[in-house]
Symmetry: C2
Subunit: 433 residues, 2 copies
């Protein structure tokens, strides 16, 4: 398709949705992608750019002049525009902003750039439909026709007082079904939900999904209406959150994808492996301390990977369920009752597994005392591992640290060492060495 047949290509691409074109561009090499972007008009390309993978967008923007970027930015909603500009190197940011012709749009983008990207301010758009409480329904509909041209989706109409303070909301539906001479103040709903501009995006996501909202207004500390956040942005936040937690649990820091460079992936993965290695070296140390046992009860050493695996698995299970419970706000009840539950749960699991270990011992004609010692120590290791897995995230959360970092390699490694140590000490007590 790339043999310079511009016209044909253009008509072909115009039939596609911008999200589909973005997917095609993600697969093309950089030169071809820039070529396609320059071919299409900025109304489509601005949307395509926002849908692209961040790395690819960055490379394409490098190949566009600041003026061309400013043209793309003009077509975007303020929130996307601010995001795109924020990704540019600082030197180019100012230049792009100075090229934006619509001054209102420019000021709004500059305002959005001042907010932290993890706050409601960083996520909101300035595009919204705002009406004053003193207007009538007819006057309101007339003004909305003007305002709504800039707003892709209207959702709610926000009602403000003279000082621009948010005091209520209206749906378009309410406007359509009301008589045209009614005052806005009389038909507005005053139980409007809102978030503060400095609220954390995760909290915004929680509020919006709890109350099933599709858009929420953002206000400053004086209750003045600043912007609004729509549910599609929240869907992205939720997906990113979920991906991040999933990766953390697997021992991958930073936001990486399967197609990132080897170097990026190494940076994200190696630190956790080093942590695991230190844990492993710790067990080497512990086992060296029990070296003389090798002559009397060698089989204990055969069981160490099993003990480490059990301690790790149980710990990860307990921590995953607690981390998720904390994230969804459904961990209730006192610490004491949780303690009792976790002990009960791990005793049941441990007991079932201990029986299997004893059966296995019979099968391979292992000394019965040894089998019992191994089974009982394993059970204790499981209980301890479950407690560590449960309480480390709770404690981290109470101290204001993201409990998600406590799942995966962190819990596995500490439980490995602790488990192997416990295993040798307890077996020693039972067998008597």
């Amino acid at each position: 398709i790339e043999d310079q047949n511009d016209k044909e290509l253009k008509t072909l691409l115009n039939e596609y949705h911008y999200a589909d074109i973005a997917e095609i561009l993600d697969d093309l090499d950089n030169e071809d992608a820039v070529y396609v972007i320059k071919l299409l008009d900025s109304e489509t390309t601005s949307d395509i750019l926002m849908e692209l993978d961040e790395d690819i967008r960055e490379k394409i923007l490098e190949n566009l002049s600041t003026k061309e970027i400013a043209e793309e930015v003009e077509e975007l909603d303020t929130d996307d525009a601010a995001d795109m500009i924020a990704e540019l190197p600082e030197a180019r940011q100012a230049e792009v902003i100075s090229y934006i012709e619509d001054h209102g749009h420019r000021d709004e983008i500059q305002e959005l750039l001042t907010y932290d990207e993890d706050t409601a301010g960083g996520l909101m758009a300035k595009e919204l439909v705002k009406v004053y409480e003193t207007w009538t329904v007819a006057g309101c509909l007339r003004r909305i026709r003007g305002q709504a041209k800039d707003v892709t989706r209207v959702h709610s109409v926000y009602v403000v007082d003279k000082q621009d303070k948010l005091i209520g909301r209206l749906s378009l539906k309410d406007l359509i079904i009301s008589k045209s001479d009614m005052k806005i103040a009389d038909i507005a709903k005053d139980n409007v939900d809102w978030v503060n501009v400095n609220d954390d995006v995760e909290d915004v996501a929680k509020v919006m999904s709890k109350y099933d909202l599709e858009a929420i207004p953002v206000v400053d500390n004086n209750q003045i209406l600043l912007g609004r956040i729509t549910i599609d942005d929240i869907v992205d936040v939720l997906k990113e959150e979920a991906d991040k937690d999933y990766q953390l649990a697997a021992g991958i820091t930073q936001d990486v994808e399967a197609d990132d460079s080897v170097w990026e992936l190494t940076k994200a993965r190696l630190p956790w492996l080093v942590l695991g290695l230190f844990g492993g070296l710790g067990s080497v140390f512990i086992m060296k301390g029990f070296e003389e046992v090798m002559e009397t009860v060698p089989s204990l050493f055969f069981y160490t990977p099993l003990i480490a695996a059990m301690a790790g698995n149980v710990g990860v299970q307990s921590s995953a369920i607690i981390v998720q419970g904390i994230a969804n706000d459904n961990v209730k009840g006192s610490l004491a009752s949780r303690l009792i539950k976790e002990i009960g749960l791990s005793l049941i699991n441990g007991f079932a597994l201990a029986i299997l270990v004893i059966l296995f011992g019979l099968l391979i004609n292992q000394d019965t005392t040894e089998s019992f010692a191994i089974a009982i120590s394993m059970m204790s290791v499981i209980v301890v591992a479950a407690l560590v897995g449960t309480f480390v995230p709770i404690i981290l959360d109470k101290r204001g640290i993201d409990p998600a970092i406590a799942t995966g390699p962190f819990i596995t490694t500490s439980n490995d060492i602790l488990g192997i140590y416990l295993f040798f000490v307890l077996s020693g007590l039972i067998i008597g060495f």
Copy 2:
């Protein structure tokens, strides 16, 4: 609050949002919760019931008569109504349905109950605003006033032809800005996205988040408009998906929460632990086979937990990133190039870790050949573990099996056994036993 002071309690609760009341009820005991539900009118309680935890809702419904449940159902949108009825025991389902007074509502609910809950049909609601292409804008607005009363949020107005086939859509905004004598056919947008009633919910979620849609119409095989799905339902689907994958990765099957019963939690966790145990017993077997090495190179045995941990961690990292890539459709390129990348990546990580192992060996005055043997075998184990972690999910996905089950305990366990076996064989080759 519970001292029978009905009036005060009622006015107090009426000031709260239903989602907040649901949260309070989640914490109350069953008897009090039923008491509160019976106190409030069905318009509020139906929403509260839908927000409650599934287990708690089930218990409360057990305490309501089928007539009372039917009253709640009447107040709900068709999709929520169908979900609530589906949760009841079969015998009560028919009874509740027969008590629904509004026959249109009843037929719609019965239709929805016929769809599988994992398909678009199971998620959609019958509430939507539908207009015929032959209407005028003015006539359309008049009819919408009628239809919209039943629809909480309008989003889009769907345009159908005489056979009720979906042919386009309109936003309320478009209607408001158009002249009142225009024909719907002239202002409708014909590039409407839709999903088939039998599509999988995960695919619906992908389409909606890819195209940033807030509602999508659902059609049957003849393109006849059946219902619509709104983004708030998709948010729930995405959250459930993410929770499920996270739990699978941690070795927890079934949808459980931290506050579920010990028995539920055991059922979800024990199977994976048994899998891990068999893996561990497998290593016991392998190490028994190398028992005579204990006398010549005992230190090899000290390193087995480390080898197992490394094999497990690397495997989980590789598989997590591939599983996520598959889910987000961003795993591209040929298998061969992925193979080369994964080998390169694990060689870099393995090499860095091998150096640390050799340094550790120097520190504890370990025999140099042994240190090198351990380091090199560990490196090989890491490469193999990364390949297993990468390709098992890819192969599962190609065979139509959810690759998410391949992360966590499954990969860890197989890599543990494989890793320990490789470790002994390779060390044996290097040291010579």
